[in-house]
């Protein structure tokens, strides 16, 4: 009890035990303050949006300047954008992850790649939008289209997929590689047949989390692929499209007299989309952890 003896106590000083009680109470309160708003928001949206959701809402075109009918084109558009983003970002992201985990040596170039990945992860979403406008829409002349928006979202998603893929590969023990090579496999055969299957759950989790972010983003598609209203579904990758996040922005700020039910219903659909992906990712992760034998 030496520290206590050195402290000259003022009459107001708390004992160490009470200090701890007070401190813990403060920390618990802070955590509660952090968590409650989020749970509150989810419950609030679910309770107000559920009433609006029915079969017609999910499968019909909007009517009356979007004030009635359904939100099918926004749902389909978000789905298309997700598929487009997946097509570009998954192969590139996995390949880059394999490179960093299995091939790259620790030199200046590799450090450059890591700094580039960190930088990509920090670029503001609206700057991705500007970049997509400059490169894909105007320079490559893809126009305001699903293609331009998907390419823009892919580059935004890439850092997430690369980092999680690399991490998943690195978590496979070194001995697996030694065994693969010693059985006469080439480096690629070892990666393909031994390492990748072991790392697969981690990689899939990373991909889902990356796509989840892309699905919810609005700013990158504002000037690259999103459109206010479409009377029909997009029929080719060169068409502009409606999308759930942009649609939420439009019906909550640009359309006067919007019925609240449709607003909350649309928000709930996007939230269910995104949180559903989050749930799948964590299920895969926890199942893989439970099964893992190393």
């Amino acid at each position: 009890m030496i520290p206590e003896m050195q402290v000259r106590k003022s009459p107001l000083a708390l004992s160490r035990q009470n200090q701890q009680k007070l401190g813990f109470m403060g920390i618990r309160l802070i955590s509660l303050l952090t968590i409650l708003p989020i749970l509150g928001i989810v419950v609030y949206i679910a309770s107000r949006g559920l009433a609006a959701i029915n079969w017609e809402f999910l499968t019909a075109m909007p009517r009356d300047g979007m004030r009635a009918g359904g939100i099918l084109p926004a749902i389909v558009g978000t789905f298309y954008l997700m598929i487009g983003t997946a097509l570009f970002s998954i192969p590139l992201g996995i390949a880059a992850g394999i490179y960093l985990a299995e091939y790259a040596s620790d030199n200046l170039w590799t450090r450059g790649i890591r700094i580039a990945i960190i930088s990509l992860g920090g670029v503001p979403s609206v700057v991705y939008g500007l970049f997509g406008l400059g490169l894909f829409v105007l320079f490559f002349k893809f126009g305001i289209s699903i293609l331009s928006a998907s390419l823009t979202l892919s580059i935004m998603t890439l850092p997430v997929i690369i980092s999680t893929c690399e991490e998943a590969l690195r978590s496979v023990p070194y001995s697996f590689r030694v065994v693969g090579i010693s059985l006469g496999g080439t480096q690629w055969q070892t990666i393909r047949r031994v390492i990748l299957p072991q790392a697969l759950p981690g990689i899939v989790t990373g991909i889902i989390l990356g796509l989840e972010r892309a699905v919810g983003e609005t700013a990158p598609i504002l000037f690259t692929g999103a459109t206010f209203f479409l009377p029909h579904l997009p029929s080719s990758p060169m068409d502009a499209t409606m999308a759930l996040p942009y649609h939420i922005y439009v019906i909550s700020t640009q359309v006067p007299g919007m019925p609240a039910g449709i607003q909350y219903g649309t928000v709930l659909v996007l939230l269910a989309f995104v949180l559903g992906m989050n749930l799948i990712a964590s299920l895969i992760r926890s199942r893989a952890r439970a099964r893992r034998q190393w």
Binding site: S31, L39, A95, I98, Y99, A116, P124, G216, T218
Partner: protein, 294 residues
């Protein structure tokens, strides 16, 4: 090695370096579209205090001021809440509470910013307007509260990693000297984790600075310079919101278009500095700890 395998290995190497290419492409295309602004608007006009594009007034100082006000005030909320929650999860919470809190923070990270913006319009702004008796609830304060919700999950997860990285022997030493758990957290663990905590805060700043949709929807978008604390309860306009709300309406190649891209260059450079410098903190702190423990 088979030739098909050689080709594949090459492809993986190229994919590995793609991040560098994308960072360069982003920079090149921002500069290509944004640098002409410097020829069309004199520097003194660009860094002046009135943003009024209709009258060819392109002073970006109020936009920079708006971004800084909203970002810094959001960190005032997010820092104590985020670090406090990380301390709770990492040091204090019983296992069962942890298993609820961690997914809750993940859900928080997954909520799209446009959804938070919607809640801001529907619930937060009306509440602030009545509670603080303001003419409008669309203020810098509303924006900074939403930004805090967006920054908190990244602060929590990085701060938690930082606390986890503090060697257990530090804690044991503190307990052996008779310190309470609270004294150990406050006097030993937090100081030892300070560089990681700094990284957490800086990345939080980066996320807030680059956030677009939520801010655009709730801050009222009036370009005003910071003039004392009252500015917090008045409408404000950030750099990101300016790009997002005006880019859709300008003719490509016009002065206004170039200036918006110029703002994009500034955002890109700010985010680059924040992210790269905070990641180098992390590396340094790892090295320091290595020296202490070895």
């Amino acid at each position: 090695m088979k030739s098909s395998e050689r080709i594949l290995t090459h492809a993986i190497r190229i994919a590995g370096s793609s991040s560098i290419l994308f960072v360069l492409l982003i920079f090149v295309f921002l500069v290509r579209e944004g640098l002409p602004a410097l020829g069309e608007v004199s520097l003194s006009d660009l860094f002046s205090t009135r943003w009024y594009p209709i009258e060819d007034l392109y002073g970006i100082l109020p936009l920079i001021s708006g971004s800084l006000v909203v970002t810094l005030s959001s960190i005032l909320f997010a820092l104590p809440l985020g670090v406090g929650t990380a301390i709770y999860i990492g040091e204090i919470a019983p296992q069962k509470v942890k298993e609820i809190l961690k997914p809750a923070v993940e859900i928080m990270a997954g909520i799209p910013s446009v959804v938070l913006g919607f809640i801001g319009i529907q619930a937060l702004s009306p509440f602030l307007r009545v509670f603080l008796n303001l003419p409008t609830g669309l203020t810098a304060l509303s924006g900074s509260i939403l930004l805090a919700l967006i920054a908190i999950p990244s602060i929590v997860s990085i701060a938690e990693d930082a606390l986890y990285a503090v060697p257990g022997s530090y804690r044991d030493a503190a307990y052996a000297l008779g310190a309470t758990q609270w004294q150990t957290i406050w006097g030993v663990v937090l100081p030892a984790a300070r560089s990681g905590l700094l990284t957490a805060v800086m990345l939080g700043v980066g996320r807030s600075l680059g956030e677009t949709m939520a801010v655009m929807m709730v801050t009222g978008n009036a370009s005003t310079l910071f003039a004392g604390l009252d500015s917090l309860i008045m409408p404000v306009r950030t750099m990101t919101a300016t790009i997002a709300s005006e880019m859709g309406e300008v003719a490509s190649g016009s002065v206004h278009y170039h200036v918006l891209f110029f703002i994009g260059i500034l955002l890109f450079i700010f985010s680059l500095i924040i992210n790269v410098s905070s990641s180098s903190f992390q590396v340094k702190s790892k090295q320091e700890k290595g020296q202490v423990t070895s």
